[in-house]
Symmetry: C2
């Protein structure tokens, strides 16, 4: 089913990239952008990323698909508010990095005939803002779709089709399972990058090379966005931290004992995984 009007809430790196890809690949007939920043609205209009720009969620009333590309801690409230303006048959989704809390908060709060299904495109960047948006950002990337237990088949295939038309691959997953997985594959790496960068004494800045830069690239992300993600995925992130801590203890023990064979085995374990990716 072709989307007539697509509303993008939050026209930044992700929202802008989705708009550009939808335009290029015919994912929607008309694309409207909803953003609080006047500058973002006029930039998005000027460069043709969107057809119309609005400041608040009432504009979503005319959309068939409303996609929230805003910080995770604002999504549920936005979805609930936008839904009050929607006609039956409207589908709402998002691009947030955590899924269970949003689904929980939205659950039972939508008018009849209006559905919310979570989405998470695994296509980020330490950059942000519309200026870095690209129609290619989603190409070949995985989008995890997390439907609530009561979602309809129509809504699920609509969101699947939407992402597929945009060039992404889709995997349907339970929201809790998503959060448990992403704690390991995304949130823990981000936390570690940040911790590693955070402890570097200023006098050592000049002694870093590409290795340090690779390992800390994620630390450049926006602290307000990531603190919200960490907070929303608190339990699973703490579990992932525990797993990491056990592995660090193994390294520590091997170092203390001067056990080179054990050190090499631990490094081999990491290399084996890295070489597969």
């Amino acid at each position: 089913m072709r989307i007539n009007t697509l509303a993008i809430v939050g026209v930044g790196l992700i929202g802008g990239s989705i708009a550009l890809a939808a335009r290029r690949r015919g994912g929607a007939v008309r694309i409207i952008g909803i953003d609080r920043q006047a500058e973002t609205r006029s930039q998005a209009l000027r460069d043709g990323t969107i057809d119309d720009a609005y400041m608040d969620l009432t504009a979503a009333a005319c959309a068939d698909l409303i996609l929230f590309c805003t910080p995770v801690d604002t999504i549920a409230a936005g979805v609930i508010e936008a839904a009050t303006h929607c006609r039956p048959g409207t589908l709402l989704s998002d691009t947030g990095s955590t899924k269970a809390a949003i689904l929980r908060d939205v659950q039972g709060r939508l008018p009849s005939g209006v559905e919310f299904i979570g989405s998470h495109p695994l296509a980020g960047s330490e950059k942000h803002g519309l200026a870095h948006a690209s129609a290619q950002l989603l190409e070949g990337r995985l989008v995890i779709v997390t439907p609530p237990p009561d979602s309809t088949d129509t809504a699920l295939s609509q969101i699947r089709d939407f992402w597929t038309v945009l060039g992404a691959r889709v995997q349907v997953m339970d929201a809790e399972e998503h959060d448990r997985a992403l704690a390991f594959t995304s949130h823990l790496p981000h936390l570690l990058s940040s911790a590693l960068a955070g402890i570097l004494p200023p006098e050592l800045y000049d002694l870093t090379a590409t290795g340090f830069r690779d390992a800390t690239r994620l630390a450049a992300g926006q602290p307000s966005l990531w603190s919200a993600i960490f907070h929303a995925n608190q339990t699973h992130l703490l579990t992932a931290l525990d797993r990491l801590d056990e592995q660090l203890q193994r390294f520590r023990e091997a170092l203390r004992q001067g056990d080179r064979a054990a050190l090499e085995a631990l490094l081999q374990q990491g290399k084996k995984v890295r070489d597969v990716l």
Copy 2:
């Protein structure tokens, strides 16, 4: 003072790159390669990386500068052995990632008039082998030079000049200070990358994106090389791990308390450093 004959021991990524840079920039009149691998020797001869290839260290007798580009746990023994074949005035150096243990092991073991000064070019890669060598690898990079207390000014300026001619910047530093710094800027990031990759369950491989790949890029390095580096820098690496652990505890506490302001402050601390680099 122009180097007449340069001997490179270990013609891999680093040794090969140094040979190529020395050739291109006139860093030496003649370059000989010493490598145990017959295949490496013939490849390096075939592509003109070196002028002559030898299997063992007796060949170093004719060199003015002998550069060990071999794993850190083999350097000291190699330097001591090569030095027995050298005439007075010969300078030996290396490219190892740790410096204090090598300097300590070599101390007092060289014939009169033969000197060893440590070097560490901060220009690695998770790749290895001659096939990835490049004359540009050292360009603009920092080489840390760690002279022993009894080094002569002649030897020190000779090694400084050598790296400078190759396009690198040189910083002279105490070996122990080097090891303490590199524990933070290189060895800890490597250990973390490896620990992070090592704990990823196979069922989550498909759910990784560029963030995970950046954060674990270093884990692809050779386990035997890195276990030797970790082992040689045991004390400082354990200290760096303690610092990291304290920072991870702060994250953990903020997560447990649901303290978003504290999480954001910790992330801001990491971003501030990262943005400077």
